[in-house]
Subunit: 306 residues, 2 copies
């Protein structure tokens, strides 16, 4: 099985209470690809960058086994750039700069080698672009995973509804789930979102963990309690990447496998926030990942006899 | 083993988006006592009410096996009364009325039969009153559990610090843990609170569950995802009552037993919010409780193999 990822490959400049970076490697598809590489699954990215994008970053993805044939380089264009500053609690941030650049006219091209990918992860982009990717696939992937955000609810509702209708698994944060459904209760929100299309609804709650809804079943995990969050950038994308890659690895899309995938995604995301950008994600060893998953088990396992 | 509970026995008038009540039975010790009765442990309440407090409420506690010899009745006084109105999201509320009444000069008297209780649960009251109860015990209980709130941090810091220093288990919500410790990270906050005295720190996060800290170990549970929260009043007290009663029942105060106790407390609290006041708590059957605990198990159990 193969995982096709569509999303931004970009520059970020990040400021947190602990320091700041210059322009560094960023973008949803980058985090997703690096996370997927830790599961040793075949993956490829469809994206676009400018002539200013360093070859070393493309080489980095390649060296991790992430197929970058689908990353178009617009020689006379500039790469998407985002800059943000986190507040002291690390839970909120101000966007300082958003230069959309080459992403503005992004027309995704799927390399032939990835046209038959069984799992498609549509990273946060305009839903019209996400739809176009789905249409360009040789056949409908076995599993379509959608990440989106409130911005598209405000600006591209109809296209978003079309995209959501064709989605198997949606990942969304709690506030966005409330906005999308018009329901405050997350249980009710998940039901309404089910009715829009997705069989599986994942609601991300940041430091409070995540919920997975499927039919009448619910799975809930806390986030790993961390002494310090250094930089939250990319945590959600890392989560999505680890989640999708685990499913590809197991070649199973049932509720039990999704539960495990949620743990893998959360474990990887808990590393990402320990350093700036993709730095920590690039270092993770298999041993560290296994240890972190065991920590999740210890964190949540109990026996009760009343 | 016996559980001694100190806290308010009171009248509440509650308004939620779903309706409103007249003056009904309320108070921290009431919820705690009713929760403890579901564990079939010996318990008793130390509190004070006015001449206006109905005998039927005292009988109710008695009939559940909650010793009410320690509930002083001030014939010419009025019972503590709180009235509040919840906002639409049920996560915040406005206090409409607080009549402290007989609680203002509350001088706790411990009945002889409860002077040797092994577990003492000090419900949310002025820390000076909490300290006086501890001093009046025949000997130091094996386990002292403290519930407190931000109000006492603002108004009685020194007494609170003395009380916290004599506490084994503290239960506190996330914002209060941050205020008490001056740390935003809950892991760091728990460490600082450990240093103030308590071996076990429980941080309650409402709809996001709870965390238990002990030495370098952490246990995390989500809250039971509910379609509808009808009335959150008393959820925290129910949690504390179920938690303490489970420890009394098991006669064990180690980390593993505390984990189980956290689940029992959460399961009971998830019932309390389903109806107004103590209504649902009074109805719970043993079968329902066992089923709810199994739901917690299903909600949180996973297997991962990477």
């Amino acid at each position: 099985m193969k995982l096709l990822v569509v999303g931004s490959v970009a520059f970020d400049a990040i400021e947190t209470p602990f320091g700041k970076t210059n322009k560094i490697l960023g973008g949803a598809a980058t985090y997703i690809g690096l996370a997927a590489s830790l599961m040793n699954v075949k993956s490829g990215i469809v994206s676009v960058v400018g002539g200013d994008f360093p070859q070393q970053y493309l080489d980095l993805l390649e060296s991790r086994g992430v197929n970058n044939d689908g990353i178009e380089i617009v020689k006379d264009g500039k790469t998407f750039f985002w800059s943000g500053k986190y507040h002291n609690d690390l839970n909120s941030r101000d966007t300082l700069v958003t230069e959309v650049n080459v992403l503005e006219h992004f027309d995704p091209k799927i390399p032939q080698s990835m046209e038959d990918a069984e799992v498609l992860l549509l990273g946060n982009l305009h839903p019209g672009v996400q739809l176009s990717v789905l249409e360009k696939m040789k056949k409908r992937p076995k599993l379509v995973i959608l990440d989106t955000m409130n911005f598209w609810m405000d600006t591209a509702w109809d296209a978003l509804m079309q995209m959501v209708a064709k989605t198997d698994v949606i990942t969304i944060n709690d506030e966005e789930a409330r906005q999308l459904s018009g329901e405050y209760s997350l249980v009710k929100a998940a039901k309404k979102i089910h009715d829009m299309g997705p069989d599986f609804v994942i609601i991300k709650k940041g430091e409070h963990g995540a919920l997975l809804f499927h039919e009448d079943r619910i799975f809930a995990i806390p986030a790993m309690p961390l002494e310090e969050v250094f930089d939250p950038t990319g945590a959600g994308d890392t989560f999505a990447g680890g989640f999708a890659a685990y499913l590809v690895k197991k070649e199973e899309f049932d509720f039990e496998t999704m539960k495990s995938a949620l743990i893998v995604g959360s474990a990887l995301a808990s590393f990402t926030v320990e350093k700036f950008g993709t730095e920590r994600l690039q270092e993770i060893t298999e041993g560290e990942l296994i240890a972190r998953i065991k920590q999740f088990k210890d964190l949540t396992t109990f026996e009760v006899e009343v």
